[in-house]
Chain length 433, copies 4
């Protein structure tokens, strides 16, 4: 045991009236909702990078956090892992996620990186066996090192593609070794700063091949987890190719990967792309590519990725409602790709931020479950479209414009609009949240 | 001749030093650039709706314009057409575009609408023969009438689908009769106000069938023009399904229409979707679905569609550069889907707005042509990606991660980044504009 | 009694478990919170314009609503008033607000407008006496008529200033007659479309004089209500002079009106200006100009004023928290400057939208009251700044840089940062909402 | 001479047809425009921080630049200065600007910081005498060090106020020693992340006192330069107090500083605040607080401060037009608060970025001068407001609502709107740019 979280107890469910900061009010892991325990619905995951590797910097200022594991070398990396797994246990978080660079010391070459990654993977494996924490997903950081400044798979230099491909291979290996349930690709530098120096068509082909090779490699080694792309519209680039769910879908279709690859949708990225979170979730569901979520919110007044812990329960209820309508998570889960505010310096802040986030998720999820079980929303939706279930409507879709026009003219069809009832549906939602 | 534009001369090219408001400084229709006359490159088109049907209202105020053709009935409709064709001639605009509702009186039924449309189509045909003005595209207005308040193809009521389909059929007929070179669909109400009352999956299927039926009908009657979708992210809806070029592409792929349908890209809609105009143009080109443009700008500080006449020549040069890289227009053209500012009350304003827009387009286009002919930008781009032309790079793309990783490790590949040279490319652009 | 709301009962409080759409779950008008009945805290008001005068149009489509009072003439205007007062009673809304043009038929001259306004004012007065409904504020619509297209007070034409001034006089008279507790000015056209034709300095002087004259006139006739400006950053104009609370404050200071005039803050306008609603409320409080609120939300993904009924209780709790910290409303209140969605056609929709909004306000307000009464948030805030209460800190503020620098150097002051505790404060808020 | 810029020549004016990357096409320092040399109009300044201290990091990646002066200690600091002054000479930039932390090594205490700053100030002084480069402004960095994470003047800890005050004193001293023509305050951390832990009223008072003390100290030591505030709406904070020009004006009025302090307006910050650059310039002029400009643009599609070198000449012409209407710069100038794109690694990139920016400024400035000299725009503006110059209009402003209303009714005033002529004015602008 390190003493980083000294004095902080394991977090327990104490019910909505608890006055204890270090308790859940809504999240009761074993409580059964819609037929299974909440922990199996929500499948919470902690992100290694923000919580343990981020130092508190922003574009206008440097490190604010003071952590005993900051620094170089394998010993620091292992200390970081020790503290991380202690936090997973304090929270009762069943899953975690990591990038290679969060976990291992940076080496001078690909070979050294890989050796370091293997050593820390083994170390993680031991801790996972001891604690029972599982890996939701692994991923490669192909955006922080300066070699990736102009992209990884989409770099103008084929050697960078090579380095990135080799790195992803090593990260799929690590994910597979740790029993990861998914593997994520976020193309933080796959995009451009200016069209003037960019060959968009070429880069698209490179990205398509890279993803295809990743899928082929994963399947070849027997990795059965889900391959996920995380969309984001921009930042750090001016334009990022995996802009949003709809864009990723077109890309997958183009390369015949829409059955192989799904999406990891982040609330903050949905907002930055001009969508609501629930829009992206619903769209992914309808397109058959819903995978997992990053449940960290964006500030509505900030134009960059603020990656804040979530706390608006009514919004979260709408999100989980779409997740439940998709059948819930299979390999996916609720990951907090959230970072502490830069001024939240204390170990307690790190715990409480997750406690609050998990609890807000639980409250939102339970509201969503009630909405779905009560069935009023779905009944209203079905009623609205009921006309389409008739044989004449189906025949119309199957036919052509000439028959339709003849019928409109012949029958004098002249439809009257009917109320969309938006406000009463919004009122209805407010009964559950 | 009406007397609406009395005293306004036909607009001629007088060169950059002209002090005449009613002259072109840059647009010389017959001047040959890159092997053909400017008028054949730019293919200017005037939009009937904004210029002749819009009354000057906005969400906070009503009509400001005072036009002799405002009002009901076929005589007013014909007077409107008379003035419109006079304006096309004053400007020397080779093309125009219209919606059914811009041109015909509104009837009480589909049958009456169709009769009115036929009568005005014949009237247009006569004027087109006389004046030589051609039709760039026709389209149906499926968004203004209250029957469409919840969508046209994507309406929960199949009767609205039917009415819309019959209407599009009538507009394809009219477009075909007039020799239109394209037919456009803008799904202004195909989207939603709230997910709570929306069945997104069902609506997507309806939209896919509608478009398929439109294409089938057009081909059946021998219409050889291009079918175009105009993307827009939102407004009037909270979310519009044809969000942007990438979204439309995924939709077309899903319904197997990516060879049949292209996009009409509007600057203002690109901006509202969080993209630059040149991004949308370049992406459409790379995806093989570039069709035509609406060259009206959006105010960068306004969050709605301002549809202003374009005037920023350096931005327009970047847009035409992407058009030229796509091979230029085939059936497409430069349409002004622009409206006068609501305070620009006078007939002269209508003429001068178009004169300024056409002239700015010409200046931007000529700058783009010089950039492409000089070849410096393309040479820099090719050099940047030259590494990909080698056999080793090609083999890498064709192979798999294992070979790549072995090579990275074996050869100790550790790439150094190279300058992206953005500022010097931006300087280079400024030599031409 | 008209039969517009036939079958709709008066809305009663039935408690959180009620299954009745036509009931309050949270709003119990007589329930005492923090020492007085909720109705006296919340002071709900209905806006005449959106609920009774708006026809359901948007920039891409026309009227969707079908109301028996739409049309010309005094009889229609009185029927509208009959229905409006019936709705106020159904809701138990103690207040309403109106513009002149909402209430009276449009005349051909100022004199006719004024006669019409007087007639309808008398009619309102009778209804107010009968029903007990009070007037929260009156206002003049200086933006819809084409004469105001280039501004009212800030118009380049002094005759428009004159017409506007005379109109405001008539509306202050009407407000005074009806015992209005405030008079509001929203400068919807006081701004510009382009700087190229605008003399910003001149227009600022005109606006300053206009407001001064309004205040002087109101005081002269014995109107003791509060004069309020409603800030908005843009729309319908590209730029509106009363951009936000901070901008209005500078304007008031410039003309010496900061003691005479306060602000009416709308959630949607705060959002459009890049602020949170609670920011604008807190700032107005600190500047001493907090007056009243328009509690209608904006869609976060739409760049124009959506004026939706509010429903996000946690956000509303933060807003009422700032209101309570300002001491609550004095002459101000909670006005719904909200319109039905364009597809919400039915009389029931109009009632239910207000019911849901009032209920969400009540839920948010009660959460805010609990937060303030429990005192934990304020205690944390006070602790954070406690260092400033010491004499040394006060002396430092009173002194100069030289003494401070001497002390920093002499004492070796080198402060360590302390956690801002944001996440735990956010968790704390979630216990109340 | 260092060899950092080896092989790069001094930049000379070669005229618009030059094919030399290392030449000015438009900027001819000695060319007389509107009565004085361009260099005296434009007063170009280079920012030390972005060009010499920034390492190429962004929120998702670290250092990309490789500079011989990166590292600790005074020798590195002097090498940096050597290279910087070499660049000023290559460019012929008459001015530079710096923060203390850009220039000096970071010390362990205020005393050490001050000693370091004095040493480098002396070193700068020597170089300035040798080269003739002058200081446009000095400033203190009160935002990067973790001690400032919760603000400087507005920190909850009075010791941070003290440290900040002492630091600003030392920077005013350095600026005064170097003959700086202005002193700038940018309150990068004067704002908040969450209202929940913020006492906005208290912080406003602290900010007011801090600025007052700064002004008093500067005047006391005989510094006659202008004190400038640089507004920015947000980033790094969620909300920054000096949001925009209008907000700063209200703040200055509140503390009686509107005659003492002016604004330094940055294009990128204007955009982030929802304004056009020319809006902020025109407003500052009308309020009497126009001081200086940071002529670096923001990407219109990015929601954070991109600080790019400017290149859109028509936009820049509109900005310089407002500057010229303000009478041009007195102590202010054209500062490039611009950074290279992170991928622009080479010494040449640094030079060419500035060359392109200076040249675009010169082109824009000359267009603005032509517009003003030709007088057509101003004549149109004057005509539009001519009605206000009459005695009746003046009397109306001086009087009250009752007289106005009597006149409106008596004379039957019913004004007709007149065209705002926006498009023809936009066309007119395009003749000059
Ligand atoms: Co994120
Ligand atoms: Co994420
Ligand atoms: Co548009
Ligand atoms: Co368009
Ligand atoms: Co509003
Ligand atoms: Co309002
Ligand atoms: Co900046
Ligand atoms: Co700046």
């Amino acid at each position: 045991m390190t003493d980083f979280f000294k004095g902080i107890p394991a977090i327990r469910h104490e019910g909505p009236d608890s006055d204890n900061d270090f308790a859940f009010r809504h999240y009761a892991p074993e409580e059964v909702v819609m037929g299974k325990p909440m922990k199996e619905h929500l499948r919470f995951s902690v992100a290694y990078w923000h919580s343990f590797a981020w130092e508190g910097g922003d574009p206008f200022g440097g490190q604010t956090f003071d952590r005993p594991w900051f620094g170089e070398g394998m010993e620091k990396a292992k200390l970081k892992a020790d503290v991380a797994f202690e936090m997973f246990e304090i929270l009762g978080a069943p899953y975690f996620c990591f990038h290679d660079v969060d976990a291992r010391p940076e080496g001078a070459s690909f070979a050294e990186n890989t050796r370091n990654l293997r050593e820390i993977t083994d170390y993680f494996q031991g801790k996972m066996e001891t604690t029972g924490t599982k890996l939701l997903w692994g991923t490669a950081n192909l955006f922080s090192h300066r070699r990736y400044m102009s992209g990884a798979a989409t770099n103008p230099d084929p050697d960078v593609y090579a380095f990135a491909a080799a790195t992803v291979k090593s990260c799929i290996d690590a994910t597979h070794q740790l029993g990861g349930e998914n593997y994520v690709l976020w193309g933080g530098r796959e995009g451009y700063e200016t069209l003037l120096n960019t060959d968009m068509g070429r880069e698209r082909q490179q990205a398509g091949r890279f993803l295809t090779q990743a899928v082929e490699y994963a399947r070849k080694i027997g990795f059965n987890g889900t391959i996920l792309i995380e969309p984001k519209p921009q930042e750090p680039t001016k334009h990022q190719y995996d802009y949003d769910v709809a864009t990723v879908y077109g890309f997958l279709k183009d390369f015949g990967l829409e059955k192989e690859v799904k999406v990891n949708i982040e609330q903050g990225h949905a907002i930055l792309a001009g969508h609501s979170f629930e829009h992206e979730l619903a769209l992914a569901r309808e397109l058959g590519i819903f995978g997992s979520i990053d449940m960290n919110r964006n500030d509505y007044q900030s134009g960059w990725d603020t990656d804040q812990f979530p706390n608006n329960v009514p919004e979260m209820a709408l999100a989980y409602y779409e997740v439940l309508r998709a059948g819930g998570f299979t390999t996916g889960g609720t990951n907090f790709d959230s970072k502490l505010r830069r001024q939240s310096l204390d170990p307690e802040d790190l715990i409480l931020a997750h406690v609050g986030g998990m609890d807000a998720c639980a409250a939102g999820f339970k509201a969503a479950a009630r909405m779905l079980e009560d069935g009023k929303l779905e009944a209203a939706r079905d009623t609205r479209y009921a006309g389409w279930d008739g044989p004449e409507a189906k025949a119309m879709l199957a036919g052509g414009f000439e028959q339709i026009a003849a019928r409109v003219e012949g029958e004098g069809i002249n439809p009257e609009p009917r109320s969309g009832r938006q406000e009463r549906l919004e009122n209805l939602v407010n009964r559950y949240v």
